[in-house]
Structures are given as C-alpha cells and as structure tokens.
Symmetry: D2
Subunit: 365 residues, 4 copies
C-alpha cells in the first residue's frame, strides 16, 4: 500500500533512489514464453536517459540494464522478471547544499513532513530517475502487446505555447522514424525545429518550460477495461498522473469536448463491412473508449507536464526551521522534460494495456 | 480485479444495475466509533437524485438509503457498512427499443463485445445510477474527514463555453449555501443564472451539453499521498476519470501550467510564523500537492464532463448484426449532467482522502 | 484491508451481523454467461442453516437468499452479483446478559480491545452466521467449477475421537447421497450413527465437541496455483482457517507425513497411457499439489474444528472492568458444528479453486 | 496476482531462481526511521544458509546480502528497501540430468504443465533458495516488531517420530541461546542430540526425513488480526503453508483440540490485577487468538514439513514424453530441512505480525 507497485495482473514494483546504488523493477505476472529482447529494452532506456542532446540534462548515465531473474534461454518463464540499472554518475556532493533547504516546487518539504527523514541526494526517491525502471518494464509490456497486435505511439505535441498540428498519418512506424530524427521527439519536423530553438533559448535563460505529449494506441481489441472504477481511461489517467511533473490528463475529446453539445459529440457507428467484425465510428470523440471499455477504435489521450522546478536562477525559499533561505541556481538542469518523457508515457500506457489485456481474459470463460 | 472496488484501506465495493432491484455499496475499513449521521447521507443523495429541477432528468427516484450492517447504536463498529438504495421507477419498457441497437456514444456495444451478454435496461451497470452508491459511501468518508478537519467543496465552473470566475471566498460553508441556492450548483450566482438559461435552451432543443466542475479541499494536513504510483493527484485523477462522462482531469496549474516557465510556475515558500508549523507558498500552482504528497495548502483540481449521449434527436447507428439502424429520440433525458455530478466529484474526492489518510498512518510509527 | 474480502479475480466481500437486518455478499469477477441456478444456491444454504436436526442449534432461520444484481435473464452478466439473506429470528434479548461480560473463548473481549465498541448481539460480526454469505457465494463458484469439470466433496471424518475410515469410493455423487442421508454428514453410515449418538449425549450434557472435516476435489486440471506465496494449498489453508472455530489444516500426507522418510513419501509418476495426457502417481501423499500447483491428481485436505465455546454450563469469566463474573449456561447452543460446516468447507474450497482457475488463465497467452 | 508478493501494508515481493544471477526482495511499506541493522539481517541469513553442518546440504553459498535502496544513513526512509543476494555456487551442470525427467514429488512437472517452459537448473523458482529472500525481509520485520515489544521464537519440535517435550521456559533469549548451541535447532538439548543422531543415520542411508517446528510469539498486544477472512491465524497459516515442503499448520490446541469438549477447551479469563490492563486466561487452548484477533496471550502454532523429495536412491519416474525413466540418486542432498527452516518460520511469522500491526492502526482513529 506504500504505492511502489502498479498494475494488477501485469504488475510492476520499482525501487531505488536518484543517488543510491541502483534503481530497478520487478515485473510480476508477465506471461510465460514471451521472447525477451534485451536490445529493445536497452533502446527504450536510451530514449529516456539523460545527456542525449543539448536540450536535456547533462547528467551522465548509460542506464545499462541487467536482468536478474525470470528469463531462461531468452524467454520469460512466468516467474518475476527483475531488472537492475546501476547508478553511475552520482555526484552527491552537488546536492550537499540542499540538505537543509526546501527547493521551491520540489518534494523536499513533503518528504520531511511525511516521513521525518529524507534522502536529500538528488531528490532521492522523488527524482524522475525512478521512471527509468518504468521504461524498462514498459518495454517488456510493449513486447507482450506487440505479440497481440497492439502498438503505442507518443510524441511531443506542445512545448510552452508552440503546438504541433494533429497527426495525419496512421503509420506508426513511419511516425516513429520521423520522431526519432529530431531531439525534441515531435513527429512534425517543422514544429520540432521551432520547439528545439525555443527550448534552447529557455535553457540559455537558465529557465525551464512545460509541454504536452499526445499518445495514440492502435490495434487494441474491443473489450479492454473494467466498467466501473478501473475504466481503461481511468487507469491510463492514473498511470500518466503518476509520472513526475504531470498536471493534467485528457482522452478523446478531453477538456474541449466539455464545451460541445451531444449532437456534435456523439460518434456515429458505421455499418460493418461484410467481411469484418470491426466497430467503427465516423468521428472518434470517444478516444476509443466507451463506458471505460475499449471499442476497437484508436485510443487517444494527451498529458500535460509542468515546467521542471530546478532552474538556474537564485530563488527565495525556506529551510527546515521555517526560516527564509536562498537557493542558488547551479548544477545541472533539464530545460524541458517532455522529449525524454515521450517514452515514459508510452511505457506507462503499455503497462496499463498489458494489465487490462490479462484482466479481460477473465471476463468470459 | 473486475473493478467494482475503490480504495485500499477505506475501500468501497458497489453493485447494482440501473433497472435492477436495488443498487448499493459496502464500505470496508471505515474506522470504528465514527458517528454515522444518516440524515447527512440522505441529504447528499438528495443532491444527486434525478428529478430535482427542470434542468435534470425527470426520472423519479427518491433514492432512500437503508443501512444493513456495520453500525451499532449510531456508531460505526469497524465491520463492513452495507448501504442499500432500492430502485423505484424502473420503467424498463422505455428501453425495450434498445435491445438490439447500439446507442451512439453509449457503452452498449462494448458490453456486448466484452461479455457477450448485456442488461440493456437503462444501460444496466453502465448507467450513472451506480454513482448514487458512491455518493452514499462518500458521505461517510466526509463524516470521517470532517472529524479530521478536512473539508471538500466542488461546484460547476463551466457549462459549455460559459465559465465562472475563480472563487474569491475561502469560506466553504458560505460557498455551499450560495451553491445550493441555484439549480446548476455554481457558486457564482450571476454565472449560475446564465448557465441555467443556457441548459434550459439546450433541453428544449432536445440536446445536451458538457461542462466542468472545480473542487477545492481545505484542511488537509501535509503528508497524504504515496510518492510513486499512488500519488495523491494520481488517485484523485483516477477517481474522477472513473465517473461516467468524465474526459479530463487537471490539478493545480493543470494544462495551462504546461505553457509556463519554471521561473513563473515555482511556488515560493513563505517563512513560517513563530506560532505555526504550517507550510505556505505565495502562489499555489502546485495545487497543494508536491511529488504526489499533500503540502498543507489547498488542494485544487478540475474535471471535464462530455455532453450526455442520450439526446432527443433521431440518430443513425448500427444494430447487433452490424447493420444500419436508427435510434429514436424519445424517453427522458438529462440535458446537462454537471449540476448533479458536483456531489459525485466531492464523494470521490472524499473517498480518496479518507483512504490516503489511513494509508499515511502507516508511514512512520 | 479490513479483511472482509476473499479472492483476487473471483472475489467476494461479505457483510452483516448475527442480529442485524441482514447478511449478504457481493461476488465480483464471476465470468459472464454462467447459468445462475437459484435453487442450487438455496439448497446449499439449506445444508448450513440452523435448526436442521436435533444435533444442531435450534435458532430458526430460513436463510432465504435474494439476488439484487449481476444476473440478467438467468445468466451472470460479468457485473457484481449481490446476494442478500435477511435475518429473521433475531431474539437479541437472549443476548442482553452478554453486554458486559466476556464469554470464555469467544471474541467478545478482542472486539472491545480492537475497536473500543462491540455489537454484542449474538456475537455481531464474529458469529458464524457470516458463513451463510460464504455458502451462497461458494454455490456460484461451484456452478462455475462444474462447468470446468471440477467437483468438490467434503464430509465429517471425525467427531471427538470417533474417526471415519478412509473413503473407498471415487463416485462423489454417490458419496453425496450417502452423506445427506444422515444428519451428521459423514459418508460412512456406520460411523455416522456412532457420531450422532455421541453428539446427542454431549448435547444432553449441555456440552459441545469438536471434529474434523475431510475434503476431496476431483477433476482439477494441472496448473492451478501460483508458485510462491499463493500456492494452491496455502490459499486453501487460509480459506479454511478463516472459518469460525477452525484450529488446523493439513493437505495430502499432512502432519503424519512429517514422520515419514523421503523414500516412503515420494509419489512415483506412472507412465502415461498412449491416449492420455493425464499425470498419475502410484501414491498421492502430495495431495494433488506439487510446489503449490495442482498436478491433476485428487486434491485432498483435512480441517480441524475446536468445540463450540457456548456451553450450557455456568462458567467463570470477567466483565469489561476486568472483575470476576459468571456467565450462565442458557439459551440455544450448537453441540457440534461440523455437520453444518461441511458445506462451508466446500464453499471456501470452491472460492479458492474458482479464483485460481481464473488467475491461471493469465500464465501463458 | 502471480503470487510473488506477501502482505498488504508491510509487503514483500521476492524474485530469483536457484541458479540464476541472484535472488532478492523488495520490502514496500516498512515505516520510516527504523534502524536497519545489517549485521542482524546477515546473522539471520546465516541461520538459513546451506552448508552449516553435517546434517544439511553441502551447497556452498555465503548468502551475503546487499542493500540497494530505501535506507539512508542507517535508517529506513519509507521508500522501498531492496535487498540482493547473489548466487555463488551455481553448479548448474549438476542438474543437466534433470532437463527431461520429472523428479518424483518435485515441482518439475507442474511448471511445465502451467507455463510450458521451465528453468530446470536446481528447481529454478521452485527451489527453497527463494526463502533466503524471505529471511532477509523477515529480519527487517523482526527489527520493527522488536521496537514494538514483540518477540518471535521457533524451534524444531519433532524430527520423524522424535518429539521434544513442551517448552517450560518463558525466557526467549535463553531459549534462543540453547537452540543455537545445537545444529538441529531444538531448544531441548537431550532431544536435540537424539534428533541429530537420527538425521545423520538417515543421511547415511541417502534418505531424508520430515519434522515439525513450533513457534511462540510473546508481547503481541490485543487487537491484531482482521475479523473475517484475514484472521491473524489464517494469515499465519497461509504464510507457513507457502514455505516449501510444509504440509500442515495448527495453532493453539490444533488438531488435538478437535477431540475435546467445550467444557475442557474453553479458556477461563482471569480477573485483571489492579495495576494491569492485560488479559489472561488460565489455559491457552486459543493460542493467543480469539475470533482471528490476538488477545494478548502468547501466540502459539506448529508447522509440519514433509521429507525432502531429493534422495540419494535411484527412483522410477517419467520423462516429458510421459515414458518411464529412471532418476539417479546423486549430487547434494539435504537430509532434513527443519533445522534451516526454523528461521524461515520466524521470518514469515514476523512478516505477518508486522503487516497486521500496521493494518490494525487503521481500526480506530
């Protein structure tokens, strides 16, 4: 109940602090006989790792993943898969100045308030470093989903007030190629350039900026999601909101949909083709989910990230005694988190889908 | 795992279909010795029940709650509290025309796809009638939270494109009085009138419209929420997204916050007064939550509802065979769900807070 | 976490006190499209109900079960099935003398110690009346298992020091007929007579006596049970130990097996017949379970019940102030609980098997 | 749901195979600010490790534990504690002869039946090596319980048909000293000698023998345990039955209690001394638990272990094709598992108590 596990049947438990020995994850419930492609897992981690480009933090971590259990001769055995990612560039001394002050809009204060003790080195457990464990586990979920024909694609749709146009392509592989060709991970190259330029200017200001990530899931069969509390979009929402810095989630028509009338918003079902059992609607305001259950259409959602709290400006704050203090703007900083968060969003989506896929198997015998 | 339970330590399980014998809820984990005020529970249900005003559905349900267990001489005993709400106005015949057609943007199709069977009477389990059980349970959570000094207040902030101004008062009792004086449940009387007029016009068009509900929680101590997956805002987000028709959730600065820079968005802590241990920041973009844990400031969030799918227009759709069919616009309809959903939002927030309150008790011994 | 739920995928939650309005159960996770035979459910409850014969308590309860949700046109829909059993013969006044004294070997004291409040009427929630809800839910689990070819049979193997010989028949239907022909529910008629005579003499002494119940499960496929903590026999053990008055559980060779050598205890696998994929061993010390997972052989276990604590003798005890008090032997009493507990043992076994059956579905895709 | 986690609030998840890279455990929910005594954890592991004496298996493993997270400056932080135990003496080649045959009374067959794949090296996940992870986690639970004044002591009470007399001492420290002075871990020295001699003779026969372990818990306050399904003894029973080779569990009067009459079995409460709020009964057939809730008396239970299946005799068996095969008696073997299992029993008991201690905190506010 201490909240370090996610999922019911496909369930992960993560551990580790930013500047401890290692971080890691146990995946319990991955079905047996799945091919575990370690290269793919590593390539996913590489998309999240720090130091990738000029617009991300310069912390150096290779994020090399090791497998400790649960895989035999390249296949999952049905037993827990443990993955370990040692921490390399710990540089805890950089954080010595944070021992007694609470960094603005960081979790320092609340950890002290909750636990009466705090691993102050680089944010300890509250650091987004924990998400590397999710990406590793999410990669295995993706391998499982791929086997079922389910594909997930996310990209950066906004940085500050710069918005990408809606995607026109349905070819996720092609979009992935485009996305990976630019360092901001936006599938629209023109917007990507604009975003990169903007983030770079923000970085030079010693400042940070927020952004949004959009995600689409293709190939999901109808029937995933449980109807009341564990609606598919409720689980997706929780998954996304559990990612560091996320402040908002919407699916399908989202916030904008609340301004519409029913006669505009209803998605009209299309008659089925003679050779198909697939459900289709003319529009997809529903975002592929009705009553919490997937309907077979594309699942779409969007996630909003606040700007990173660590900036290179001096800021007023308080210390543990409640007295005014000043925090210096120095060390490493990440001007915009969304380029690295794209793969985290995909990973969390994959974990939800894999879990609900297995849960759905028990619906009818 | 079939998703009809919510919460870990303060846990509810709901049951019942729209047109079955009854709906109800079991609350497991309510601490012993709590005064169970049945009048309060009923008064909460009265705020959600249908037929309250001209701008809500005309279905007649008194929603009279009965207590079956867990309370002895007016107090909770620590054993499961079972609450029952018999269904009165079932009128299943009204729904006979829905047996074979899938209503657009309703859950009919996905229930068939998932279960191969569907209680078509009034939407069965997918009906928002299920939320009455949540409101009853949420009322008990509110009684528990009140004992701890925690208060929750929600109201309608938008209907369609009509937005209420931000609340200026901090007096939740006063706001509640204002809110309950108008049938749309907006705490700004001028906006309320505008909203009511608009909903009434939409109703006359046989149409529906979406809206938004804002919520503030006062008196929450620092320390609630678990740091990784079960962040306080992630649990709140899941809770809200599990309510029928919700398409979006944001807390604190929300989606708009993603457009800001860190230097704008960081909340600067105030020095503590000599006689106080309370944490305060000059701004509250964080929405009272840092790193997933409450910091003692007001918790704020917003929820977006799509327009109700049942409209009084004829619509094209398909039948179970996949063929084109038409659904007639007749029967009862609810032009705008947000006035009745205000108390559902509060109830779900109360359930999350009560649960995280108990969970936090295990953080330090 | 308050412990009123059992099972993961096939999950029940019970509620209700001995002398409250009603007891009941919600079954969440019963697969859709199962035929729900209400007559069978009632017939199972009839085997547990009080007042069946001269050797059971004379409390009068028809234990008539009502269905509130989750079933449509005779079939499960995949939504929660709520079952209600109103309490009829409450006679709370009989228990007025227990308000301030702690009955020896009853739970009165510990409820006060834990909760600081106690529904003293007939033991409140600690009464074995709660097990009626389990029997009702277990009946539905049995219907599900029967569909899968799994059958469960329990009977009384000991009363005090009177032991029945081991069963020789493999025909569970025939054994059931024999068992139901005597009021002690032992499948060996000669032993049954001896047991009945003995219980009747104990009853006339105003005393009670313990006993044992043996259970066999046939038709269980290999593969049920999770390998580490949720071993099939560990779940069965917990299920049985959660039944009122149970003090011991053993499976397969049990306690006696701990006295043997490996060379005696190992079950030797038989070569498979050409036309069969069934695993068979010459002996079955394993009780059908290896490493926590069913192997396809008969699953066998035994459950020990202490004598009922309520006796018709005056006994010394203490009151809530800790002072010496005397409790009078009066009212109704149940001289031996095992005849009525046979169907409770079967019900709990059925719930475990149904749950592990569904869980196993996620092992391999 | 794949069953590699145990506990609700004090929750562990284990991973690792007998001959993989490492085994380990994550403890989620250990309260913050607990002193983590690594020497104590290691000393507990040393009591379980192989190769301790002539009467245990000769596999060489130092079982050196490493801490990866959750501890800062010697104290728990409230975040997940990850412990790693690398495997050293893997010698997988010893097990090459087991690839295609199913060892009698081992889990080989059922893993193949369940997963269609099996890590055959030393039993893979089904090996009792997994219990080292439990012992490490249990050591932390013991540190937590000690802080609360709760102590746990187990020892070997039977080997084959050799039974130790009941303990007369109440001084658990003294008993521990006596127990650790002999290699069979029986707190009665005379019986210990007899047991050791017997096990050694069994070892020379290339055979194995079962045994029993008794456990007593002192200092447990009244109120632990949840009243219906998660009764304290039900959780203890499940915990014990989840240990490899366990075939039976009883608490308090156990199986023998089922032969008694109520007038013999009822524990008579003693009047409370003027200066005490402690509940005492003249006898303790209840084993310290009434209605599933601790009453403050000593908690007592007993666990039965079958003889280890690996013997040094040639045995008939079948191969994966179902054909007759022979398995040679060679390699290392453990003639009697109970001396090393004493600390496993204690560890699992500690995990149950720590969990129920935290759960009980939510009973009353």
């Amino acid at each position: 109940m201490a909240g370090n596990s996610f999922g019911q049947l496909f369930r992960i438990t993560t551990f580790g602090e930013s500047h401890g020995v290692a971080i890691g994850v146990i995946i319990d419930g991955c079905p047996a006989q799945l091919d575990i492609d370690m290269d793919f897992i590593q390539s996913e981690l590489d998309k999240r790792k720090p130091g990738q480009s000029k617009i991300t933090t310069q912390r150096k971590e290779s994020d090399t993943v090791q497998i400790l259990s649960g895989v035999f001769e390249g296949k999952s055995t049905g037993t827990p898969i443990a993955l370990l990612i040692p921490n390399e560039d710990q540089r805890s001394k950089d954080y010595g100045h944070n021992v007694d002050v609470y960094r603005p809009s960081h979790a320092d204060y609340v950890y002290d308030a909750k636990y009466g003790i705090r691993d102050h080195r680089g944010g300890g457990r509250s650091s987004a470093r924990e998400t590397a464990a999710r990406v590793a586990a999410g990669a295995i979920a993706k391998l499982f989903l791929k086997q079922q024909g389910i594909e997930i694609f996310a990209h950066v749709t906004s940085v500050g007030t710069i918005d990408a146009p809606n995607l026109e392509s349905n070819d996720l592989s092609a979009l992935l190629t485009i996305r990976e060709e630019n360092i901001v991970r936006c599938a629209d190259p023109a917007t990507a350039n604009e975003m990169i330029e903007f983030i770079d200017s923000v970085r030079k200001d010693g400042d940070t900026v927020g952004g949004k990530i959009g995600c689409v899931i293709k190939g999901c069969p109808a029937g995933l999601g449980e109807p009341v509390f564990d609606k598919l979009h409720a689980d997706l929402g929780k998954a996304m909101l559990s990612i560091n810095a996320v402040h908002g989630f919407e699916y399908g028509s989202g916030f904008a949909g609340s301004e519409l009338r029913g006669s505009q918003h209803n998605d009209i079902p299309q008659p089925k083709a003679a050779d198909s059992n697939v459900f289709k609607t003319t529009t997809n305001y529903a975002g592929g989910i009705l009553g919490g259950i997937s309907n077979g259409m594309d699942i779409t959602f969007k996630v909003a990230f606040k700007p990173v709290a660590t900036i290179m400006h001096n800021q007023q704050t308080i210390n543990a005694a409640g007295e005014v203090s000043e925090i210096k703007g120095k060390g490493r900083h990440d001007p915009c988190v969304v380029p690295r968060a794209v793969v985290i969003v995909e990973a969390m989506a994959a974990l939800v889908l894999a879990d609900q896929f297995l849960r759905n198997k028990a619906s009818v015998i």
